[in-house]
């Protein structure tokens, strides 16, 4: 469907509720072969055929990279989201045939690190499930700090504690337990790398404190898939393919371009990988940039847009697609 994203034909081998909000999905190859190898932090894009509509959502692989008989993802149900997680929860059953992308890793471990300090918030725990499994198998030095709203919403906290004991520290919001971030960051041995995955507020807080406390940018890694935000519908002219399209309220610009039969390259669909970067030919209106890829200067220049997460408000927009 898109350049750079080879597809895998899989069957849903199991569906397991983890708690009231999170369900785990297991995939195996339909031809019975092993799945491609991946490294901790990798994600796959899951294709969801929802009637007329195809949804493509990225999810981190949470199984051990040492076991490629199956891939596992965990999906947190978002009742006010765009519907991808609800589709997974309500429609996906064991035995169902699905298509997923090859794994891509935009949040990999830096294996030169002397120590890996991991900070997870909520469902942001999933890439760390794979990374801790990978490191534990290599005798790697890691420490995981995991914040969740309540013990019952601390997805896989029990599994992690059992596997790694005191290398895992839990914080429950309802018990007023908070990460003592400054003390934690300032007590790490030289050569430590920091990894954070969770809500954007948490990522911003951790990155800001790390920078202020003298952590070089090369040692701070974060992953935030911005889910495309809904917004007012807008019209776009695709200059190369000569098409006029309308982006609906609940649709992303990338999805609208794809629905018109044009296939831009993509990998993450979350504003971080840079693959779908698109040139603006002309515009009369205002860009709503939601990506983490373009620089602030590029955002201000109005010459580029990341159609996976960003939108437009105004009279006309012409893109080089």
């Amino acid at each position: 469907m898109s350049t750079g994203t080879t597809k895998l034909d899989v069957v849903v081998s199991d569906v397991v509720p983890a708690n009231e909000l999170v369900t785990r999905f297991h995939f195996r190859r339909r031809d019975g072969q092993l799945l491609p190898t991946f490294s901790g932090g990798a994600h796959v894009v899951v294709e969801m055929r929802d009637g007329e509509r195809t949804r493509l959502n990225p999810y981190s692989l949470m199984g051990s990279p040492l076991d490629t008989r199956e891939y596992t993802i965990s999906v947190r149900r978002d009742d006010v989201g765009r519907g991808g997680s609800l589709f997974m929860h309500s429609n996906v059953r064991p035995g169902m045939e699905m298509v997923i992308s090859y794994p891509v890793n935009l949040f990999s471990l830096d294996l030169r690190a002397r120590k890996h300090l991991m900070l997870a918030g909520g469902i942001g725990i999933t890439p760390f499930m794979a990374q801790t499994a990978q490191l534990a198998a290599q005798g790697g030095n890691f420490e995981l700090h995991y914040t969740c709203r309540t013990a019952s919403l601390g997805t896989y906290a029990d599994v992690l504690r059992e596997r790694y004991d005191r290398r895992v520290r839990l914080y429950h919001d309802d018990r007023d337990e908070r990460i003592e971030l400054d003390r934690l960051l300032s007590s790490q041995p030289l050569g430590t790398h920091l990894y954070v995955c969770g809500p954007s507020g948490m990522i911003g807080w951790v990155c800001d404190r790390a920078a202020a406390l003298g952590w070089p940018t090369e040692t701070v890694h974060f992953e935030h898939f911005a889910a495309p935000q809904p917004g007012a519908p807008f019209d776009v002219t695709l200059a190369v393919s000569g098409k006029m399209i309308r982006v609906d309220e609940q649709q992303s610009l990338l999805e609208a371009i794809e629905a018109a039969g044009v296939d831009p390259p993509y990998l993450c669909r979350g504003g971080v990988c840079g693959q779908c970067e698109t040139n603006v030919v002309a515009h009369d209106g205002k860009f709503i940039h939601n990506d983490h890829w373009l620089s602030e200067e590029e955002h201000r220049s109005c010459k580029k847009i990341m159609p996976c997460v960003s939108r437009f408000e105004g009279r006309s927009l012409v893109l080089e697609r």
Binding site: R112, A113, R114, L185, S186, S187, Q188, P189, L190, G191, T192, A211, A212, L213, G214, W215, P216, E218, T219
Partner: protein, 198 residues
């Protein structure tokens, strides 16, 4: 300032104060001037968390200027080798939040960086500024011996005596430029020697 040639040839910047909890400086000779220039741009109290390891040049200058910055710790030694145990110990006990600044000759910057890499600091996280001599530390690719303070092209290996072409090819792991026999085909062919790394 060293010119950029091939990708492995190190390039140096200008020291600037970084956010951090501790600041470790390693400098030799005129590298002290780079620290003084940084001090002019640094916020007040910056040197209260600083440690300076300084190897003065033959003229013995700049010690007073560095002491006047009132760093928390100041060490002065005759050679890099004499400062090495202190540097290693400091890095071994350090936490994230320590920032490293290297200034002076290429040999000093390279050797201090080699120790820092072993301690787990990424080379891109280190502030460097080249001041003073362009003399090179080279490794003979034939006998693997290191020759310090090479100023000529070609140069004689102080270990095996081969006449070496001093290349821009640099190893961070060895903290040395590569020296390759310049007259392997005919050892009687002796190209003229120029002093180009002053």
């Amino acid at each position: 300032m060293a010119a950029k040639s091939i990708i492995s040839r190190p390039v140096y910047g200008t020291l600037s104060p970084q956010p951090g909890k501790h600041h470790l400086f390693v400098a030799d000779a005129e590298g002290a001037l780079a620290i003084s220039d940084l001090a002019a741009k640094a916020p007040s109290g910056f040197f209260a968390d600083a440690h300076i390891i300084f190897i003065p040049g033959h003229d013995g200058k700049h010690v007073a200027a560095l002491e006047a910055l009132k760093p928390a710790q100041f060490y002065q030694g005759p050679t890099f080798a004499s400062a090495l145990p202190r540097l290693k110990q400091t890095l071994a006990n350090a936490h994230m939040g320590l920032r490293l600044y290297l200034a002076g000759t290429e040999g000093l910057i390279g050797q201090a960086m080699q120790v820092a890499l072993e301690a787990g600091i990424d080379h891109t996280s280190i502030q460097t500024e080249h001041r003073g001599s362009l003399a090179r530390r080279i490794q003979c690719v034939h006998c693997k011996g290191i020759t310090e303070n090479v100023t000529t092209q070609p140069a004689t290996c102080s270990h095996c005596g081969l006449l070496l072409l001093v290349r821009d090819h640099y190893s961070r792991r060895l903290a040395a430029f590569q020296g390759v026999c310049i007259n392997a085909e005919d050892r009687s062919e002796i190209p003229p020697t120029e002093e180009i790394f002053r």
